[in-house]
Symmetry: C2
Subunit: 401 residues, 2 copies
């Protein structure tokens, strides 16, 4: 059947992607991972981006822990090496907070850049918690929990520790990325656990969902990337910005949360709004594929890359539509999945050297030909393939029984 073909493809592709990163990304001298990797595996830059270090540790551990064929010592060893590198070097001493992480490190772990946002720290939490699940290291788990407390404090209480100067015109803006990341961490930290700490995280999770839903604007017809702290539309380009891939990712986060909590209304909103709207507005009817940014009023976005096709929105779309189909069994959602699948595998996947290209022109031509870069690591592609394989397993297993 079509579903079996999809599963076979996801499985084969995941094996190839894991092979690629195992073969080329490990820094056996200093630990951690190279992520600037050319189309045929050549390292073209040795900098180590903390987001991508954390994501690779997380992904290796998740594969090791939940997929039998990846439960291999070399996967665990690579994850541990990355975790040790992060633990030793990612946090910046004397930055005003003991928990502020760098954005970028030199090959040997010296801090090179720091962002005034929370994302390096988020991927640090993901990495440490998942690694602690695999190794049973309680100290590491506690460290993830402490970092999480700091993150929640920055987001909900006082952002001044992030180091941004207070400016009179800089009114608070709610970016959808922030509650999405925190919700992702809540799911990470609560999975198969219980107790007081988990109750605390569940409260954070509920808050994140409310925050994400504020981005559904204009009478439920648009998902806007940034809104005011009162949940209203912001003026100008910033207020009108749509990021279809991000909305789709939020869609499957919300659907998952709605399923775990038996919230049917949330499940419907996730599918009918966060998955449907970005397709209607973001799918390029002429050339296929999802556009990167759009202005809700049809102005041209100011982001130079707005019309490019990036790999990760397509990864998120595949997860979203397959997850939605598996729970609703609505054929239209499987059609959506198929449409994205066809575009994705014919444009991004590299049959010759393995892994995926990340950046295409609007017309679908590869325009940045590396497999890994400052923002593309071992994360969106394998997470997509892993989740799709799991979902297809579950659909096909139910059909068989």
């Amino acid at each position: 059947s079509a579903l079996q073909r999809y599963r076979e493809q996801m499985r084969t592709e995941l094996d190839k992607v894991v092979d690629f990163w195992q073969k080329y990304s490990h820094d056996t001298q200093y630990g951690g991972f190279f992520t600037c990797i050319g189309k045929d595996g050549k390292i073209y830059d040795e900098l180590k981006y903390v987001w991508l270090q954390g994501r690779q540790v997380w992904m290796y551990c998740r594969l090791y822990r939940t997929m039998e064929r990846f439960n291999k010592p070399e996967i665990l060893e690579a994850a541990k090496s990355g975790g040790a590198f992060l633990r030793r070097f990612a946090r910046i001493p004397n930055s005003g907070s003991p928990w502020k992480c760098a954005f970028c490190l030199t090959r040997d772990g010296k801090a090179l850049k720091v962002q005034r946002t929370i994302f390096s720290e988020c991927f640090y939490v993901m990495a440490m918690d998942e690694l602690a699940r695999v190794t049973g290291d309680k100290d590491m788990q506690a460290e993830a929990a402490q970092m999480m407390d700091q993150l929640v404090h920055w987001v909900r209480v006082d952002p001044s520790g992030l180091g941004k100067p207070q400016l009179s015109g800089d009114t608070p803006v709610c970016s959808m990325a922030v509650p999405m990341m925190l919700l992702c961490l809540v799911q990470q930290l609560t999975e198969a656990r219980s107790g007081e700490e988990v109750d605390k995280y569940r409260e954070v999770g509920g808050w994140c969902v409310k925050q994400i839903l504020q981005h559904l604007q204009r009478g439920g017809t648009a998902i806007l990337e940034s809104v005011s702290s009162e949940g209203k539309e912001l003026p100008g380009c910033e207020g009108r910005l749509q990021n279809p891939g991000h909305a789709l990712e939020a869609g499957w986060f919300l659907l998952q949360y709605g399923l775990e909590n038996g919230d049917q209304e949330l499940q419907r909103t996730a599918v009918d709004k966060f998955m449907e709207i970005p397709f209607l507005t973001g799918w390029d009817k002429e050339h296929g594929g999802l556009l990167y940014f759009l202005d809700v009023d049809g102005y041209c976005p100011t982001q130079l890359e707005w019309s490019m096709k990036l790999w990760w929105p397509h990864c998120e779309a595949l997860i979203a539509y397959l997850m939605a189909y598996s729970h609703t069994k609505e054929p239209a959602l499987l059609d959506r999945f198929s449409q994205v699948y066809d575009y994705t595998f014919s444009h991004f996947s590299d049959a010759e050297n393995g892994e995926w290209f990340g950046y295409l022109t609007q017309q679908g031509k590869v325009t940045l030909d590396f497999k890994g870069g400052p923002f593309k690591g071992f994360f969106h592609v394998p997470r997509c393939l892993y989740m799709c394989e799991k979902i297809l397993d579950s659909i096909l297993n139910k059909q068989e029984t």
Copy 2:
């Protein structure tokens, strides 16, 4: 003759561009200029970017002061309004330095973003000094001089006032933009002046030229955008980055400096290296136009926009080749100018609504269709047209006499 046709085109186009910005960009309510202006003149965002405010003040004043047909009260009034807005709102109180400027302001002048670089301040100096030349305001000229002192201090003595945290892996990097901007300011502040202050600036100018020349690397075969503080090539992507438009702009800065100081060797280096190399490496032989970024070893740059064609490198190329031709009379340089001219006027200039588009795909299709944005204001296009008209005047006047 061809030169006469070029001059006619530059003149007509400059008139149209000035009209466009006079018609659409003036904020008569709060002062200053809108710069986010759609293809047909519509304001799509009210934010005020300090770089662009300063550049527009400078350009209006320069036109007013040096071109008879722009010596009109409405041009002066617009410049004064922009200058007053900048003076009142651009500098950030309580930022650690009395001279730190914001990067972006709200429509009514509240600071929204601040960069940890020197460029907002540089355009502030340009604006204030040129406006002082027109109005005779000595306080304003003194303010420009004080800001210049602060800039030189940040660049040559101590950058800590810029607000960047000190990180162990963040070794000093020399970006070509910094000495280029300072050299531009030196030329601004010394024009037709003399005295102690001017001698001080001349020393800075000499230092800037030496710094810029350090970017000529690999035995004189490549212009690299960033080098180490010892003038050596840096590792990785950062070290290999080439920005052809920037090299061309540096080329005409150096040529102008070499001419003013009777330095023939510098003149030759400007033409043979800073103008020749970026053309050989940066001109797209398949689609025409100058690529935005390149890696000197042929890797793919990590900048998503690397293969796009932006308006400003073409503006700088037109100035560079025409200036070089006017001094050397080498026909090959006029051919270069013609080649860039043909591409530029057939791709960027908008005959329908005036002004230029700024952003094309590699294939030459307009992909961001606004006339002004966060980084495109009343500067590169009118400066190019103004300078080309002046240079063509000088060539043609010599021919006639």
